[in-house]
Symmetry: C2
Subunit: 227 residues, 2 copies
Amino acid sequence: MKQEIKVSVDAVVFGYDQESGVSVLLIKRRNEPFQKMWALPGGLVLNGESLDEAVNRELREEAGIDVNYLEQLYTFGSPERDPRNHAISISYFGLVRPQDFQLAAHTDAEDVAWFNIKKLPKLAFDHKKIIDAAIKRLRGKITYEPVGFELLDKEFPFSDLEKLYQTLLDHEIDRRNFKKKIIGLGILEELDETIQRKSGRPARLFKFNKKKYFELKEKGYNFDIFF
Amino acid sequence: MKQEIKVSVDAVVFGYDQESGVSVLLIKRRNEPFQKMWALPGGLVLNGESLDEAVNRELREEAGIDVNYLEQLYTFGSPERDPRNHAISISYFGLVRPQDFQLAAHTDAEDVAWFNIKKLPKLAFDHKKIIDAAIKRLRGKITYEPVGFELLDKEFPFSDLEKLYQTLLDHEIDRRNFKKKIIGLGILEELDETIQRKSGRPARLFKFNKKKYFELKEKGYNFDIFF
């Protein structure tokens, strides 16, 4: 019997913003099924196209953006996940700064927008499940590799990094231990400059030591202070 | 244009044996392409079948075995990986005791056997790459969750657990620190009995605390002593 299974890719692009927290990029579906509902950007892989190429093409086509750092999350393959036919989805995820992207809906997408992960609309297909898996993976990931280089300003007060971790983990962290651990990793350089924000004392600025940061990103570490 | 991509699953079943080390289950291909070459057990997903069902069915059909603990590894999707057509493979991996399985080659497989991962034959498709990815994942995994419950005897001297970790990691470990860490996790119970093996003093026997072991397996930890 001929195999009749469709192959698609879906992208979970998270955005981090200091004020609004963690969001995810969604598109509004132009066509059935789930017409007018919000969904992850994605679609069918073309013949002869790699999975990476497919997910990048779909993001360009449906949301008008290029995302450099996507990694494979999981392949969802339940035969019931698409009402039309048996369709598997290879999902990808990444974390970006929303302000770096100019969104533009095209082709299958009627609209495109960032949604806070705590206020998601009802989603098409099993996309809620895919987002939940991506959030879980993201939280696991920041315990064994550094995060922040592409997300914070080039120079930032330590409290910005603290806030990033608290927001991604969605819980308070022991600030003193956190600082000790981060400093111990050697990924930060303390600058002479300070910054004055609203109330409070001027805060010392830091920047990442790029070499050390990417070495640790590659090598991994164990960072159990939060748990 | 109609999508013409085939969907298959492949299984990397590792075996651990105290004497012979880590092996992987391979089948000898009955048909073209790569006829008579060794390959991972696997094949096309059937219409309406889940990915888990497919990989379990292929293991039964080609190798005559049921493996309970498989988890998804990665989806390989390069259009060049199969000479016949664009075919993606969702790979799974697991770790078992070879002596618990009675192998029997069927259907597409002309033969089935365990091969030591250090003495692999030339493999069909990109299966060497898939096995390498599985070895890397396995080594990563044992640094954040316990291993051994299904692999060691019910009661074992501590040196058996040490040997398991050394074999999986493929390098020596600091034995004193390892013991301190493992004992600290609370997953072991020390018994009154000892065992006498060849030369040397009688060694104290241990068994796993099943409850604690599976709690930690679920929760994860950070185990950086090896690195």
